[in-house]
């Protein structure tokens, strides 16, 4: 049995895929592994490039294809169904793991077992966040206390590429929600935590992943719709929290969407989301604008 399945969706980004693949090859962890790639209906040239890159590596690569573009959640479901490993880790084309990533996270999972944790755990990690053309900034994952609350406030990032867990633990959560063309991982994490799952950190505080971030070409309206869908879907969890907490989450959604539209030069849309955010939480809005000197 393969020890680790690395699941990697791909869509029209062979260069990004190659970057991710090289970071997998550089892992210090030397157990048996397979990389499962699912191409989500890329254009012929990009698909040909992808196939060439896959055949050039010494890693074991299983390449799957959607006949047409089916979207990220569908593709992730295909990948999860195809995973053969005892453990599963995720990576998106264009992002990179640092060489110690898998080894440190495996250490984290075993440390938890040795300490007698009786919950299903996923090992997350601190990560570097790098906007295109800017310096890296480390993002620390806050796993202390109320993890669901931390996730909803953003101090605990719900990113699949930070996670290592057993394949069975991912399957137990179920499939990714096909309605969520964005933020399907946030929904997936909330469902995991709702099933009494727990996130832990590895023995190191060092970031183990770098996320190359860009909002360009991403639809702010889609982000807003998906975020609100997640909040509505998990409203039972929200209603156990204060009114202020709930209001701040809606504020957060609108600010998030405003950032996307602003980065795509959609001024009218940006103004609309900022207006909504100001209505959701005027104090937080003013504080944000003062602290960031009017920048989003």
């Amino acid at each position: 049995m393969t020890t680790l399945s690395i699941l990697l969706p791909h869509y029209n980004d062979p260069k990004g895929f190659e970057l991710s693949l090289r970071s997998i090859e550089a892992q210090t962890w030397k157990g048996s592994r397979e990389i499962v790639v699912c191409d989500d209906g890329s254009r012929p040239k990009e698909l040909a490039d992808l196939e060439r890159i896959c055949s050039s590596t010494r890693e074991t690569v299983k390449l799957l294809r959607n006949e047409k573009n089916r979207g990220r959640p569908y593709t992730r479901n295909v990948l999860l169904d195809a995973a053969d490993g005892k453990y599963t880790a995720w990576l998106d084309s264009g992002d990179e793991w640092y060489p110690e990533k898998i080894q440190q996270q495996l250490n984290g999972l075993y440390r938890a077992r040795h300490q007698g944790f009786d919950k299903v755990v996923w090992c997350t990690t601190n990560y570097d966040w790098q906007w295109a053309g800017a310096k890296k900034r480390i993002r620390k994952q806050n796993v202390d206390g109320d993890q669901l609350g931390n996730m909803l406030t953003g101090s605990l990032g719900a990113y699949l590429w930070t996670i290592l867990g057993t394949t069975q633990s991912f399957r137990d959560v179920g499939h990714f929600d096909l309605q969520l063309t964005r933020l399907q991982d946030l929904d997936f994490f909330i469902r995991f935590l709702s099933k009494d799952g727990m996130l832990i950190l590895p023995p190191t505080d060092e970031p183990l992943v770098v996320y190359h971030k860009s909002d360009i070409g991403k639809n702010g309206e889609e982000i807003s719709r998906c975020f609100n869908y997640v909040l509505d879907k998990h409203s039972a969890h929200l209603f156990t929290r204060s009114r202020r907490f709930r209001r701040n989450r809606r504020y957060h959604v609108n600010m998030h969407a405003a950032r996307f539209t602003d980065n795509n030069d959609e001024s009218l849309q940006t103004a609309m989301y900022l207006g909504r955010a100001a209505l959701n939480s005027p104090v937080a809005f003013v504080r944000h604008m003062v602290r960031n000197k009017g920048r989003l």
């Binding site: 020890t3 962890w29 157990g31 495996l106 075993y110 440390r111 077992r113 040795h114 007698g116 023995p203």
Partner: protein
């Protein structure tokens, strides 16, 4: 995965502490194919190569030995040869189950069950030729020493003088209840300080009734016995090329 369980790095190389870098160098010199397993989730992160924590009590419902073995299998490829360290040979037979833990022997037996006995071997750290000569000389001299009541404490005492390259004399004295440890500790000190034992020093080996009893517990620990188990050549960090015990012989 193939597993080497290496014992004795603390027992035989004491009192000089062995650094991680030395252990890694020693092992890579001994074999290019063996990889020292760093147990990154060890509750003693300052000693990531020391696997003896798996023999003690833990908070999990799972056996710590099973956890460690599963971790090693998960961390390495099928063709890798991996070495784990148990600091003392005594851990192989120590009756730790009474304290809620397991013995090194059970660790070996479980590993043999999981990986196949042909994939598990037990090796010990050895001493250099220089150290062997010291042991031989000490043994010869110790054979002629006075045996009688110790002045105090009930401990064996060996004293000797060693000459450095510049000609100065350095007194050494070790007190312990374990003869093997006395001799080997002295060897280590000599090697560590780059001294040559001239054989001209004074050696006293005093045994009182109490330490006689201790010695009688392990009558096999004679100088000849020590010499038999030591292999010639190499640096102080030298791996025996053949196992001194098989997994099967330690199966309870």
């Amino acid at each position: 995965m193939k597993l080497d369980v290496i014992t004795g790095y603390r027992e035989y190389l004491a009192p000089a502490p062995v650094t991680e870098a030395e252990l890694v160098r020693f092992l890579s010199d001994a074999s290019h194919t063996v990889r020292l397993a760093s147990v990154g989730w060890s509750p003693r992160p300052e000693q990531p190569f020391d696997a003896s924590f798996a023999l003690g009590r833990n908070n999990s419902r799972e056996s710590a030995v099973d956890l460690l073995l599963e971790y090693l299998v998960d961390s390495h490829g099928d063709n890798d040869r991996v070495a784990v360290l148990l600091p003392t040979e005594a851990l192989l037979q120590m009756n730790l189950p009474k304290k809620g833990g397991q013995s090194g022997g059970e660790f070996i037996a479980r590993a043999a069950e999981l990986l196949g006995p042909q994939h598990v071997r037990l090796v010990r750290l050895s001493l250099s030729q220089n150290s062997r000569d010291v042991v031989r000389t000490l043994g010869r001299m110790a054979g002629a020493t006075q045996v009688g009541p110790a002045p105090s404490g009930g401990l064996e005492t060996i004293e000797l003088e060693a000459r450095s390259a510049s000609g100065s004399l350095s007194p050494y004295s070790v007190m312990t209840r374990n003869y093997t440890q006395v001799v080997l500790s002295l060897c280590e000190r000599l090697v560590r300080d780059k001294l040559t034992f001239t054989g001209a020093g004074r050696v006293e080996f005093v045994v009182n009734e109490m330490s006689k009893n201790n010695l009688s517990i392990r009558p096999d620990l004679t100088v000849d016995r020590i010499l038999e188990t030591l292999e010639p050549g190499g640096e102080i960090f030298e791996l025996l090329s053949r196992p001194f015990a098989t997994a099967g012989s330690l199966t309870p």
